[in-house]
Subunit: 217 residues, 2 copies
């Protein structure tokens, strides 16, 4: 059961989404928010799996709301659902931590599909928005939850980390000091957009970044 929170200032939009998602047996709309602030509050109490977030809303816009949500509850996914596909709207959304970006003209089936993909750990960008993203990616590579630019050494560290090892153990395995491991690990967290080693390990497992090794706890 995927628990969905809808955040949109237009009543019609919320109605439409709810009606449609109700036809999906494994979806449950746990709440509705009329603006970004309400969205953050409801996320806190309801702890949904995913938030369908409108970009433009009163009180607090979708970007701000997404930032707050992702910083407090990094595991809760946000799918930006809006009607703008230009650079100025897409990029901030992705940078804020949204796992996906879809235009509101999306087909219902496609929407459900997108949500499922996100829950599986994939990132979804509407084709129209992708092109504008591609350009930016060249200039600014700091969007690692889209593209993963871990260096070889960082991948080594992450692999060890994903075996449940401590910094000291990783250092010993890779024949470097604990300081070095800490440096790598900090960089990994930034690139993966996670806050700590547990999230990094879960991310690696979920996204199958653990190609090298096969053991686990």
């Amino acid at each position: 059961m995927i628990r969905v929170l809808i955040a949109d200032d237009h009543h019609v939009v919320r109605r439409g989404l709810i009606v449609f998602l109700k036809t999906q047996k494994d979806f449950e709309v746990v709440g509705e928010a009329k603006n970004g602030l309400e969205a953050v509050e409801l996320v806190e109490t309801l702890q949904p799996d995913i938030v369908l977030m409108d970009l433009v809303m009163p009180e607090m816009d979708g970007i701000q709301a997404t930032k707050r949500i992702k910083s407090k509850w990094p595991t809760i996914e946000v799918l930006m659902l809006t009607s703008f596909s230009d650079k100025d709207h897409v990029l901030p959304a992705i940078e804020a931590g949204a796992a996906g970006y879809q235009l509101k003209d999306i087909e219902p089936d496609e929407l459900v599909n997108s949500i499922r993909k996100i829950m599986r750990g994939e990132n979804i960008i509407h084709p129209a928005a992708t092109t504008t993203l591609q350009e930016k990616i060249q200039e600014d590579k700091n969007l690692p939850h889209i593209q993963n630019p871990l260096t070889p050494r960082e991948q080594d560290v992450l692999a060890e980390l994903t075996k449940g090892k401590s910094n000291r153990e990783i250092a010993s395995s890779l024949f470097v000091t604990e300081k070095t491991v800490k440096t790598h690990i900090s960089n990994i967290f930034n690139k993966l957009n996670v806050q700590d080693r547990t999230q990094a390990a879960l991310y690696a497992v979920k996204h199958n970044l653990t190609e090298g090794s096969e053991s686990g706890v």
Copy 2:
């Protein structure tokens, strides 16, 4: 590729195992140890995925070696391979942290099968040894890596933990103080036989203890 270390004081046994495992394309025997002490040392340098460990060996027996290995490298699995199926031999092995216990009369195919299962996170006990285990389980439930006695509340905490949350976040989600969360978490670690939250999260994911929720990083 599953990297195997063989620890047995009988040369013939080692030969036999090696020859057989060589026929398996995804197995690699990375080393052989003639006693427990050597096994521990080789584990340190070779970092295998799994150790096939004889119970009775000179220098250091399989139980001791397993204890040391599991305490230092909890992610490395140990399959006890021996010829005793009585209580006094089986229980210490399991308590030492062995993921499996098989008699030496095991069919080669069955052995490979067991190893694969262990790598998948399952625990393997030879039928003959299972019955003696069953009895003991009633008396002594402190064998959590076999049977998981997490209380409901501990399961709640573990579920939150497996979303990548910090203690503070878990506390807020479950409406208790951080102190309480720490208590639960310490207990969980003991029961799961892991050292920290990352290992616990990986354990939960691997062993599918995350029934309740579906989200991740």
